[in-house]
Symmetry: C2
Subunit: 416 residues, 2 copies
């Protein structure tokens, strides 16, 4: 595969046309073969991964990143299972969303079709290669994957196994492709390939996403950054509040739907904060509070403006006492990233106001923000969580990898 | 109003929050007052328009553009009526599209909400100022309008009348704003105002749209370019074919859903072309054909590659004889702009293939491409016709000016 990136784009565009016409049965057959090939050829993948791990080990990469990069038979089995799950999901392509009669009795249908060619730029986790390939293929799209340099050999091995198995099972050549140069320039070039790409989805840290948004002429779906809040309302069930903030902060602190700031109504601060702080600190969380919080918890650090702004993605939590629901919502408007926000309340009216007024992809009453997830929502799959407002918002499943077209049945109508 | 563009953006963002919370009744009341103000204060608008017309007259602007720029009491009445029509349409905001139960019985609803702040960059027609303001307000958005330099005084007069009437009727200050500098720099600045704008919609010629797509960091909805085809299939009803190509080419040649190329199956060329050409030429259309067309119509010019590529937006039609349905679809794939494509056929199977395989916003059987229009589709309004695949495709009505958010009702659920 000594194709230039532009050649890869051209090939993908051609493949997308063919992939878009595959029946659901044909696509499911391909997914099944891809799934089988991952386990059957896992030795080649594990060998490539060992080389990536060795190189990464020499580069002083943090242990958490090394863990994300690492593959073992169990993780390959997970990828393989993931493809079978995608296979079992309903195919959105061809679904007629609605059909009605327009002017002069023309019959108009709105039918779901693939997007075309999807570009995905992602960072270290090699399982994204298999996940994204499966989701794009199921929805009749071609995909160009551009993984990170650290995982390049692993990604290459996975992509080779998958694309060979796919073609053997009847997929067009070029439906699943990996960019062969993991350097910065290839990502930049991909961002300008508007002629061949229909959409670009960056998956990774805030820096990557910003770079794609700033430089891409291809339409982008932004994923990711989540500065999420839990607000404990006046009169809330404080036990419930404690269990939710504990879950939202500590169950998996490194992900975008984890909570980063706790807001507490002034009337509950004294009753709530000591117990909550004890539980959070027992779970290893470092707390940073506003002056009113520190009157109750004098041992914790003061929260700075930067603490309210940042997505810690770590066992750190900012805490602020607010005067009212309005005050809490104003804080969320100012610092939130429109991802996931939750109110803990017993008050019917306040729940209604919070749901209506808070502008975010997912707005919760009495539940952990950690539910913002395609699987938890029941989509059966997830390509990422969109924090933008166009096309897709919140967890993106198979539907979000498709678009619509109108089909119009006439009998000779002309416009008058 | 000596606000900087950034100040206008900030104000719009603030206003959008308030506008998004207005009830349907409140928004309809505002639209009614805006409608009334246009006619009540038409003298100021007409006076401003006369100045624009005088300046344009001195600049050797083509008559067709002068006509687009010109306002009279009838056209102001049309704008005023347009606002009443928008008022009477159902409000998409607050509609729950679906509601279901996710993991652990959390109840998840998908609810329609405003996009936020919409930027619209448009060219000479001043009626866009009123149309866009009405559609954005009805959907709870704030709007920043940036019209062309030729229509600046007209746009300013209209925007002043509308925004004053809106505020008087209860709209937040800043919900409807016009950029006060119609120069190129202001458009460029608007394209980078990602902090304040949620979406940018360019309405105008191909050059404007390309510039916005190339330079914008704000998400863009592309509208416009339509290189549309009519394909006369083997065995088609030739009378129907003639009436459809005549309508699609001549009923309004300057718009994006007009046909630009006629494709004719070889088996129908001799029977179809002479009569069709006569009718088209009688309507003033200049024909340009491939060599096989010119064997039948030797008096017409030869069609060049450029003729197949271009959107004439004029009384010019390229004609090509094709060997088969596949050949016709290959031509459309190569030259089409994914806007509107129509097959004229009696063949059930060919109709099905064309509808399935042609990739365009609107794919027709036996009808004129001129139906690609929000009003003809029954949307009751139109902000433009999207030729991109993300978020909106084809005619955009009120729904396309909204997004969704998820609202989640829990009872203390945490993720396990």
């Amino acid at each position: 595969m000594a194709l230039s990136l532009a050649d890869q784009g051209k090939l993908a565009k051609e493949a997308a046309y063919q992939t878009g016409l595959l029946t659901t049965e044909a696509k499911n057959h391909i997914l099944k073969k891809m799934s089988g090939a991952l386990t059957a050829r896992q030795d080649a993948i594990l060998q490539a991964n060992r080389k990536d791990m060795e190189a990464a080990g020499k580069k002083n990469i943090p242990a958490s990143l090394l863990d994300r990069l690492m593959l073992n038979p169990g993780r390959i089995e997970d990828m393989s299972e993931g493809l079978l799950t995608v296979m079992s999901l309903p195919d959105p392509v061809g679904q007629v969303e609605s059909m009605w009669t327009g002017a002069q009795e023309i019959q108009i249908g709105k039918i779901r079709v693939p997007l075309g060619v999807i570009g995905i730029i992602y960072e270290s986790r090699p399982n994204v290669t298999a996940d994204a390939a499966g989701l794009c293929l199921k929805t009749g799209n071609a995909v160009i994957l551009r993984g990170g340099a650290d995982a390049f050999l692993s990604n290459q091995a996975i992509a080779t196994v998958l694309s060979e198995a796919a073609v053997e099972a009847g997929a067009p050549i070029g439906a699943v492709q990996l960019v062969q140069d993991p350097g910065r320039e290839s990502a930049r070039e991909l961002m300008r390939m508007k002629e061949y790409l229909d959409v670009l989805i960056p998956r990774g840290g805030a820096g990557l996403i910003r770079e794609v948004v700033e430089n891409s002429t291809v339409p982008v779906i932004e994923t990711g950054t989540g500065n999420c809040h839990i607000y404990i309302d006046a009169g809330a069930d404080l036990e419930m509040g404690k269990s939710i903030i504990l879950n939202a902060k500590t169950q998996r602190p490194g992900v975008c739907n984890a909570a980063e700031t706790l807001l507490v109504h002034q009337s509950e601060a004294e009753a709530f904060l000591p117990g909550a702080a004890e539980a959070l600190e027992a779970a290893g969380v470092e707390l940073r509070g506003c002056p009113r919080v520190r009157q109750i918890l004098p041992h914790i650090k003061e929260a700075s403006e930067a603490d309210y702004e940042q997505e810690f993605l770590d066992l750190i939590l900012a805490i602020k006492v607010v005067d009212s629901l309005e005050d809490a919502m104003a804080h969320i408007r100012r610092y939130g990233t429109r991802h996931s926000e939750s109110i803990i309340t017993r008050d019917y009216r306040n729940a209604r106001i919070f749901l209506k007024e808070v502008d975010a992809a997912c707005v919760y009453v009495n539940a952990s923000t950690r539910f913002t997830d395609g699987f938890q929502f029941g989509f059966g799959a997830e390509i990422g969580i969109s924090t933008q407002k166009l096309h897709a918002r919140g967890p993106m499943g198979l539907n979000e990898l498709t678009t619509i077209k109108y089909i119009i049945y006439g009998d000779g109508q002309v416009r008058s």
